[in-house]
Amino acid sequence: MIAKKKAWVMVAAVVAAVILAGCSTQVKRVGVEEVRDISGTWNDTDSRLVSEEMIRDSLSGGWIDRFGMTSKKAPAVIIGNIRNLSQEHINTNTFVNDLERAFVNSGRVDVVASKNERGDIREERVDMDLNASEASRKEMGKEAGADFMLIGSINTIIDASDSEQVRFYQVDLTLVSLADNRKAWNGQKKLKKDIKNAKFR
């Protein structure tokens, strides 16, 4: 009789454990380079592929050397507007920040604060003027001007019918000379996905 009771308790415990395990949130750490496509929309892998291509192409292109030969200094770049002309709400900051980081870390390209970033910096400089010591205070009017502006766009073409879609993404980035509007570098990355949604659930 006692053995029977024990067996029931054990069965109940196992059932409870299974049910509770099903209810709990599960988190599994994965490598940032692991490809996990869930819905077929733009994701971290797309952003990474764009970053890699743009970094490789921009740093190996001849524009840095050409600018260095004529100006005898590293080119300074400011990040402009990257327009999202696609069918998805895409955060362009992820690959633009990667490119910016690669420019700075390469030591061959300077990056100056963008329009959105410099407001806070200027405010801080005004504050410094009032509150910082003479020795540490930074003067106004000594900002580095940019030589090039990075602009670009993301475009998509989607062909969809029933539960199948082909999504094509094209990311274009361009460095435009602020002195004469000449385009110094054009980077491009194309991605294509075939998505088949389930017909039954």
């Binding site: 999202n84 069918q87 969809a160 019918s161 539960s163 949604n197």
Partner: protein, 446 residues
Amino acid sequence: MLSLTINWLGRQLFGLLALLAVFVLPGCATYSVGIANVEHETSERNVAAALKALDKLKLSGADQMLNYLNKGTLLRFQGDYAASNQQFESAKRLMEMLSATSVAEQTGSVMVNDTMKAYEGLGNEQLLVYAFKELNYLQSGNVDDAAVEARQFDIKQRLIAEKDTSATYLSGAFVRYLNGMVYEEAGESDSARIDYRKAVDGYAAQSGVTGFGVPAALKADLDRLETPHASSRAVPARKLGQVAMQLQDTRDNGEVVFILHNGLGPSLAENNVMVLNPNPQNGSTILSVALPKFVQRPVPVARFELSEGSQSASSEIVEDVNAIARKSLDDRLPMITGRAVARLVVKNAAVKETKKKSENAGAAGLLIGLVSDVGAFASERADTRSWSLLPGNILLARLSLPAGTHNLKVNFYGSNGNILATRDYTSVKVRAGRKAFVSDYYLKAN
């Protein structure tokens, strides 16, 4: 011993029957009854109370979509555009998920009733989600994100039209019109021209259903983009029938686009057809079929006039939600009826089988028969779900104004030409060559 057992069984079944009456039947109240309080609070412009009432309904599971759609609308009325778009985005994701067929739900709809199927939104409702998302973005000053919605709409509309090629009223003409304005704001005049053209075609195709044609301001937009140098552009707008758009494209002017959610959209009620079975031992005592029927609510505003000083513009109807919903139900009704009849046959066979098996069980058998009768009758409910807070129709007016900050006035007129109300909209910023989007809702019919 046997009679004791039968008595015990009888008591248990009586308890079961009582429980069924207490819990199941009230739970079967149709959706349109439950949402009435939300609609009432919204009509009184008490959005916070409406949100609370909506939360109390606990719309989840098969009704989750209705929660997203109605909450998105209420948050939009509240001016919380970001939160509203979160709800609408969730609705869009759910729509995508529900577009796959569920065998279990299909079976449930034939065995129990149509509310067993998850509500995925009717075609026109799905299209209007994009319009409201666009408007939320536009009213937050985020044109590029509004343009993303416009591009997504293009695919969605194509997929909906592909499923039912005869439903020309599902062209999303109003959303196309809005898309055109969004694209113009985003500086994509070619895309704007294409969507204005599709909007014109859509309005023409659905005019047999809605009873109105192409809005004059839209015609003027298309004309402006298709023939940018034509002399006809100099024709003053007022000659086109008191319509909003000022056609002369003064570069120092911007434009206010005012959109009104007018009245509450259609509601569905239950139409229950019941017949006493002449031979109740061979099936259900009452044979019943429940079908949804269309209930049109009155739209309070016949037209409105948007003005600032001596400048004014009259509204045009740009979307007749009522007419499209009515046509959509008419088109779906044969299929709904077919399923209801199939359900009747299935339930009747099940009740017959239950009664046959329990006919020798005396009093308990009678109770089992009664329970199965009540179960079959109570479970037969019509699917009266719809996006309740959609407007009955949408009115739009466009007023060209010089760049600057403006205080606008809107007079709302009833069908007798009487002024229903006057509302002020202060500090509306108009930029040269750009559109400023303003919206409001007027739901109360009195």
